[in-house]
Amino acid sequence: MTRGEEGGPSPHAAWGDGRAAQALVPAVFLAPAVLLLAVFLLYPLAETFWLSLVDWNGLGTSRRFVGLDNWATLAHDAHFWLALRNNLALGLLSVLVQLPIALALAVMLDKASRGSQLLKILYFMPLLFSSVALGVIFKNLFDPNFGAINGALQGIGLGALAIDWLGDPRYSLASVITVVCWQNVPFYMILFLAGLASFSPDLQAAAKLDGASDWTIFWCIKLPHLQGTIRTAAMLAVIGSLRYFDLIYVMTGGGPDGASEVMATYMYKTVFAASRLGYGSTIAAAMFLAVMLIAMLGLRLTRRFETDV
């Protein structure tokens, strides 16, 4: 809004009836957001659920309504349940691995304050890389024949640990999750750093004066202060994990033999490789429901443990 408009005649005066205008204003201001949400969120969502009821290869007019057949197939699709289980494993490990590491880094960087600028940048780097490039790099590092990881293990006499990281169904999911965690730790680190920045130095000084150790300050003051941020981080980690796609797709393609399949890679393959748009939409819709359900449960559960600071 420019200055000229602010200084102009009141819109009420121009429109005559003040009340009608009053009612219009919220509608006008809301319209763009509602319109965007409707076009880019609600419509695709409704369409996904509608497509989950058809058998269609995505081309032309071969679309055939099959009712809940796709959903019945999904309920008995072992591959889908395996993918969901992998998603949950990814979510759990993300919370258990990423958040503590991120918190530790944030607390240490916060303590070092000014001197840590370079470290902050370094730690933040993984998040800036493109996932595809990262995936290719790690694919080469994990290569059992030429990869640096197995090379190093053999070099230090731990050849027995030099396993087939991505090609063995027992390890491929864990290998990929490690990289996912490595890439995402910085995001939560920044989140926690921001949380710690709002921590009053006076409070810390007062605690020190009372003889509190650094540990006590961390456990009894800083951690409770961060609980809202931690809750947000945990929710983001879980939701992000349920929708995860890129590194897994690049590094293993969900394989071998579905061992590292997640819902999103399975959906992608079903739609784009197997040309089953209808069934792929069923997977997408189920994914949406799973994320909704778990997000709601998560919010409720974490709220219960909330304490007043």
Partner: protein, 425 residues
């Protein structure tokens, strides 16, 4: 926040310039063309062919998009699904192209070929098989004649006193000698699942002959994916895995980043079953090594019904025109330019054989490929390209499971047959 703001302004600028160039493009007729010729030398063949077309047809401008193999398939699918396909596009014929044809989105080229018989008759007739549906031709063979063969390191073979095996028992001996010398017999990078399928397809062909797959895919009487030939092929594949025939990590290695060729280059593996394009790929990456490379046909299996069949494609990529194209006549002309005599010769110069008649091939390797093709009792297109997409994917999944020893050959065969019954009515 400031970042967002600049991003928005950038977007606005991009949108604005898009509008401007859109307005500008109106006086030039634009033909879009999509293909996968990402390698420098084969890309040049296309660039030159497009230049010839533009010179011959003033007023037309060709907008080319060159995309990597796997993303290309997805991009094409989305474009067709959104009803905005490119005018001219490359495909592999077979099942996926048939999906677009069935949806009425591909131009029938038969009338154009009938008008220009000189052009049509240049090609080896069988090269149209992959793009012919209900007697109508929907694509022109344009790139190469590629067969899957067993590539091997002849220096390594000579060092260990090995002969190229002609039969399976000989192959087993070769594998044993290699293993005893600390060399993995085969390099395989099966993350994408199609490289492993090549070994399986040959086993099926040698055991059951060409008709085993043909009858199963066409649902002919007696044809079934649960046929003993498929079960036995699965069993032999698993036997290879158990005996250590493949270099470790095979189910996780990525062909697209050269993981299997690295094994050959370093001498850690001695053989690989792959299309003849592997020689071209190696020439680009490691010209020194190519001198040590040679190939032989997949060995025969005692008691098996097949011996000379080949797995591969006559044409490799096929160029088609979409029905959505505003200038179909010009698009067909563009396709003709892409496979005109100059283009065919240019491809030959870099070692690729467009299936046209009377080509003078001097390279001994190419001569052998053509001889294998001429002697072949049957030419089988890759299963995943021949079958409808969903079934092709299942086939590749099952082969990966077989290689991972997580499914029995019988289970794999029965699963495939059950899905085929559903999909191929």
């Amino acid at each position: 926040m400031r970042f967002r703001f600049t991003l928005k302004t950038h977007l606005a600028l991009v949108a604005l310039s898009a509008c401007l160039s859109g307005a500008h493009a109106q006086d030039v007729k634009t033909l879009t063309e999509w293909d996968i010729r990402t390698q420098a030398s084969s890309n040049k063949v296309m660039v030159d062919a497009v230049a010839r077309f533009e010179k011959k047809n003033p007023g037309y401008k060709v907008e080319r998009s060159v995309v990597l193999n796997d993303p290309y398939k997805v991009k094409l699918k989305i474009a067709f699904g959104a009803n905005e396909p490119p005018c001219v596009f490359a495909s592999w014929g077979g099942g996926p192209l048939r999906e677009y044809v069935k949806a009425g989105q591909v131009l029938d080229m038969t009338p154009y070929l009938a008008k220009d018989t000189a052009f049509r008759d240049r090609f080896i007739p069988s090269s149209f098989d992959t793009t012919k549906f209900d007697g109508k031709v929907y694509g022109i063979p344009g790139e190469d004649t590629t067969l899957a063969v067993v590539h091997y390191n002849k220096e390594l073979f000579a060092k260990l006193g090995l002969q190229t095996p002609k039969t399976w028992p000989e192959m087993v001996k070769v594998m044993d000698t290699l293993k005893a010398n600390g060399v993995a017999p085969f390099a395989l990078a099966n993350k994408g699942r199609w490289p492993g399928s090549m070994v399986y397809m040959y086993l099926v062909d040698r055991i059951g002959g060409g008709e085993a797959f043909r009858k199963a895919a066409n649902r002919s009487p007696g044809g079934s994916f649960a046929d003993p030939a498929f079960v036995e092929a699965g069993r032999m594949l698993q036997e290879m895995v158990k005996s250590g025939a493949f270099a470790q990590g095979f189910n996780g290695l990525d062909y697209d980043v050269g993981a299997s060729r690295r094994l050959l280059y370093s001498g850690k593996a001695a053989m690989t079953v792959m299309g003849t394009w592997e020689i071209g790929a190696a020439t680009n990456e490691n010209p020194e090594f190519v001198k040590k490379m040679d190939f032989f046909s997949f060995p025969t299996i005692p008691g098996g019904k097949g011996s000379t069949g080949v797995i591969g494609t006559v044409g490799d990529n096929f160029y088609s025109v979409s029905k959505a194209c505003k200038y179909p006549d010009a698009a067909v002309e563009l396709v003709k330019s892409l496979v005109d005599d100059d283009a065919v010769q240019a491809r030959l110069a870099e070692g690729r054989i467009v299936p046209v008649k009377g080509l003078t091939v001097t390279d001994p390797g190419k001569v052998r490929v053509l001889k294998m093709l001429a002697d072949a009792s049957n030419v089988q297109l890759w299963y995943d390209q021949e079958l409808p997409p969903a079934l092709g994917e299942l086939h590749k999944d099952l082969v990966q499971s077989l290689l991972g020893l997580s499914i029995t050959p019988e289970e794999a065969a029965n699963k495939m047959e059950a899905a085929a019954k559903d999909a191929l009515r």
